[in-house]
Point group: D3
Chain length 187, copies 6
Amino acid sequence: MKKRFTSEIIKYDGTQLGSLWAFRNFGLQGDSIVSFQGPCQVNLSEMVDLADVRDNSPIYSENMLHFIIEHFDLDLEKTIVRQRLLMAIIKDTLQQFTGVALRRSGDDLYHEDKKLSVSIATLTPVSTMIHTGLNILSDNVPVPAVGLADLGLTEQDAPGLGAAICDLYTRECSDIRMARCKVRGVK
Amino acid sequence: MKKRFTSEIIKYDGTQLGSLWAFRNFGLQGDSIVSFQGPCQVNLSEMVDLADVRDNSPIYSENMLHFIIEHFDLDLEKTIVRQRLLMAIIKDTLQQFTGVALRRSGDDLYHEDKKLSVSIATLTPVSTMIHTGLNILSDNVPVPAVGLADLGLTEQDAPGLGAAICDLYTRECSDIRMARCKVRGVK
Amino acid sequence: MKKRFTSEIIKYDGTQLGSLWAFRNFGLQGDSIVSFQGPCQVNLSEMVDLADVRDNSPIYSENMLHFIIEHFDLDLEKTIVRQRLLMAIIKDTLQQFTGVALRRSGDDLYHEDKKLSVSIATLTPVSTMIHTGLNILSDNVPVPAVGLADLGLTEQDAPGLGAAICDLYTRECSDIRMARCKVRGVK
Amino acid sequence: MKKRFTSEIIKYDGTQLGSLWAFRNFGLQGDSIVSFQGPCQVNLSEMVDLADVRDNSPIYSENMLHFIIEHFDLDLEKTIVRQRLLMAIIKDTLQQFTGVALRRSGDDLYHEDKKLSVSIATLTPVSTMIHTGLNILSDNVPVPAVGLADLGLTEQDAPGLGAAICDLYTRECSDIRMARCKVRGVK
Amino acid sequence: MKKRFTSEIIKYDGTQLGSLWAFRNFGLQGDSIVSFQGPCQVNLSEMVDLADVRDNSPIYSENMLHFIIEHFDLDLEKTIVRQRLLMAIIKDTLQQFTGVALRRSGDDLYHEDKKLSVSIATLTPVSTMIHTGLNILSDNVPVPAVGLADLGLTEQDAPGLGAAICDLYTRECSDIRMARCKVRGVK
Amino acid sequence: MKKRFTSEIIKYDGTQLGSLWAFRNFGLQGDSIVSFQGPCQVNLSEMVDLADVRDNSPIYSENMLHFIIEHFDLDLEKTIVRQRLLMAIIKDTLQQFTGVALRRSGDDLYHEDKKLSVSIATLTPVSTMIHTGLNILSDNVPVPAVGLADLGLTEQDAPGLGAAICDLYTRECSDIRMARCKVRGVK
């Protein structure tokens, strides 16, 4: 699995959640996780979470730390389990970086009932993908929100944090694959 | 998904990791998680983790809080991702019950480099299964270990803890299934 | 699995056979079956059955009892077996309601060589879907046809019939899932 | 898909529900359905339906018309849907042969609350399999039962009936495969 | 599996790599391989191989012997293994027809470092597909190339060669399916 | 994917075709190919190819170059396609080493109607596996046979040949995986 933190500022508008985005843009071929900073604005017409569409909840954040993951299989449920595990990894890493207690509820992270993250997983014609964004700033987010800045981190911390999470997720996926290859079957 | 904490004391010797164990013993039909207390002794000849067999690491604990999970599909890698997520859920729940910081490394939980848990996932002819055991007592465990008792819990806390974890895992699985059914595909 | 008979009159033009139709329109999340009445007109350009397109056989009926089913897996062959089973369920239910003998041939129902139904199953990017329509009236159907009215039912019977079929299909799917979870493997 | 009615009398004791039975005994390679007559006695220790084992319901019939089906894939749920469809096919065929009304409930056939059939589907290491048996005689069956003889058929009718059902099931499977290969995907 | 060599001259521009092409154009329903002659020009905007797009390598050949294959499953990796096997079959067949030694490297065939072929495999919403083209003429191919004419074949040889390859691929696929149905499982 | 040529002489008696053989014996975790020399004797009772059992064709060779492959997925048909591709790789490599023309027919290699190889693929509870053996000596093989010695190779060439084939197969599998991750879907 390939990993990359890119210092390029990219506005996340939903089009990044498309097959082979990491290959087209960074030449990363195969399963991958890419992290970057940038604003986030996804209009209703571009949203893939139809529960949010039904609730009329567009997504907006002035600056986020983003993760785009692609797995080249077609089992969306499996990728949603991976997404939840990613959120657990992010939570543990953030607690280590900041000392602040967070709470994971499904694919969301909270600090005292304020939302830190957005996340979605879906299918492309050739793969499954995950987007997760962590608010860096919480200004103008359309729901009660907290940002990494509120937890004591600065924008300068984002690259280190992004790279650490990419590294942990990549290692976990590789470790899971190896764990699958060490057990005999039972009756 | 069915869940059950049973107050019956059961010695875990590896044979519980067999297809339809929850249906045969408790009438729970379908995906399930069952929790119980009891000693744990798995001899090398019964172990399914061949890495442990190669390392000559038998498993022993005088009293554990056990979880036996069965998912009726045949994707072992997917069930290993679920297993990691289970460990994250257990970690969060324990921290909430005890206030003590724990660390997850793959499918293991640690408190200050002392091992709290054992866990394995494997295939049966008709399903995939997970066993996780948490030391209640750490005496005579063959590796540096910690038990729930060392974290301030008593045996009387085990039923509540076991039931809480069963409940959270069941809800997470159900929520994951629903999350799979709310997104449109992308390009 | 969710079920719903809606008294809303909906014209079936093929666009209902699209992913998450039941969620978008009725908030039904997860596998579902929805039934309703309405005319049916699918132009060649909208048809998914390319055998019908090759035969230049558009679909038209002045009033039908419709069923839209969505299963959130990607095995089209499996959903076609489900579709055949649905047709068998409809046949048995109709015989019980009307006392009239019907014949199932693949995914079609006939009364004395007159066609009662249309049906198709296909893949969306995130699921598999089935549409089945039963003629209520047989006027102007472009093939020799029979309608529920010809079998002695009235439009007032449609809601009860639709709800009964939704109920039976839902129960059969649930029962199949449970049957999968009660057998040990053999050699 | 291969089909065969064999006039050989075979006692069904559960061992016929094993991988490659049709290939080992009749040289039928690939998906197959084989029909034969013979007594049926499956002891609890040989039963694969653990619900029956829990209910202490052994299977016995003095003479049955049997069907053994093997599909070389590993999706048990899919084969259970096929099994239900097989029961619908058998019901329709029997009604055509006898004029007597039958009722299908899941994988069971009834005539006026008397059980006509037994059926089970399970996994082998390389395939999925179905066994269905129809009572020819109803004497000494351990539940309220009816046999083909009670419906007006004789043992001499069994070969024709068995062959007809094998033919219809084989054609339905082939037709399902082709139906999978004529539709375009939708959104 | 259906096979067909058609004497119709068809320009390959990428649109032939679309679901149900063989069914729409030739009525071939189910897995199929179709061969034909014609020029080949795929513009960058139509290419499915994003590695070629990244390398700015459009595809052009004045006359090719083409093969379009469709398998109605959704496992792209499996179809890429099939594609490699097809290239091995083509290589062996060409050596038999021409006596000239060729070299296979992945999905490419070479004669002394000159490229004889182009090939790609991808997913449609309902199937997986392969396109392979063999240069008949090597003029104006945008990379160092060789054509069947350079190996001593004429355009008149193309139908026999195309039909032979279709026949061998079809038989190999059928033989592979049967090989899957003759082995017992092991521990 | 891991690869290994071991200079250890191992008698192939069929038990090597068992899950995790490479991990248990060489610590190779994950998909792997292992090559070694040794005699080959598989009694009928140990054979997994039931077509050979039906034909009463035991397997014997005084010295063979063996390959044991394990892929940790459960799609036997896919692994049989891989097996055919392996045989094509072996054929090409042998022709390069010896200059002698060979012929592949399914999973067998021949030199002038004399059989050079045996091969089988099957399922374990956790994986799929391939065994291929190439006769080094052709003495006492129970069918008309040829050995590598007859093609001008010596036992001293076996390690180089075995390692080369392991290397090519490993690279092909890795290349196939990457090819799966560079294409967009089509309609």
